[in-house]
Symmetry: C2
Subunit: 154 residues, 2 copies
DNA sequence: TAATCTACGACTAAATCAATCGTATTTCAT
DNA sequence: ATGAAATACGATTGATTTAGTCGTAGATTA
């Protein structure tokens, strides 16, 4: 789950938009400056986010981008999957992009990778922009332990 | 923490060597066949593992590779770091390869990535080949919760 | 002494990443 | 009206990484 620059940039900008939520559009120029993102690169990122319905745009003077969904209804998991494609450390433990491996039956360490993927996926899928913005705890590990033993094992 | 093929291949082979520990060398040809790894590619991987002191080799007939350390003294974390370089999802939360980001002071989501890196790093650094081979539980989440609150926070 | 191994550097093809550029189009303040 | 300011979007690129292959040299032993 190595984060690409694109994902990092997208998240930076999203949180800027969350902070400014309800107070009108911000132009790319400003988003790029405040988050230290190359402006021309950011254009593509914003286009992709618009296509996903996370942001909306208005052209012309006074134009720019606004958040199009409630911050509580966008998760970091969605953002990472959008830009990096896959969240799991390897195809054989991915849910969204599962790839069969013919060693699965005899593989000794797949369960460890699955554990990692489960923790990270749960964390990211629970991390809504709203909660993360507020600094709220996203996942208590006790809750995770309980759910885990309830079974999504190997 | 996307696993490269190289790392995956290395782990497959290591567990084969663990299984065969103490019963003489296995030639690359056999390691490659049993684990479905391209043989010529595996040569480089074995060289690197030999340099790290994880395996030892003997040439000639009856030659091949053996494990050079106790399975309890090699962790998956070491293997991943060796071949993928870094375990953390992004430079700003890496311990072994920290990269400063000038947004750190204002970044809203770094703490989430740090949480992910902490869980995965602990998991992998505890996952010795011996324990993983035996199927033993590597990290109870309760223990993790306790340690976490003891503080390696943001 | 020949068969069977490892050792190791050189090379490559393809994919991915991180952008940059040119240009078209829309909007609105004046 | 008009022009400044904004988004829209495809084309292109340069660097890096990935996932290998190939040729050959050298060691070991049945
Ligand atoms: S070897 Fe194990 S971990 Fe690697 S891809 Fe196959 S099943 Fe998954
Ligand atoms: S923006 Fe936040 S998460 Fe991304 S690199 Fe900077 S500090 Fe780390």
């Amino acid at each position: 789950m190595r984060l690409s620059k694109k994902t990092d940039y997208a998240l930076r900008v999203l949180f800027t938009l969350v902070e400014h939520h309800g107070r009108g559009p911000i132009p790319i120029r400003e988003l790029a400056r405040r988050n230290d993102v190359p402006k021309r690169f950011l254009e593509h990122i914003m286009l992709e986010m618009k296509a996903r319905g996370w942001v909306d745009s208005s052209p012309g003077k006074q134009g720019g981008y606004v958040l199009a969904k409630e911050p509580a209804r966008i998760t970091m998991g969605e953002v990472i999957r959008q830009f990096d494609g896959v969240l799991a450390p390897i195809g054989c433990v991915s849910v969204a992009h599962y790839e069969r491996c013919n060693q699965e039956a005899v593989c000794r360490f797949r369960r460890i990778l699955l554990d990692a993927r489960n923790y990270v996926a749960r964390l990211m899928d629970r991390a809504t922009l709203a909660m993360v913005f507020l600094g709220a705890p996203v996942q208590t590990r006790e809750v995770f332990a309980q759910e885990f033993s309830a079974g999504d094992g190997i």
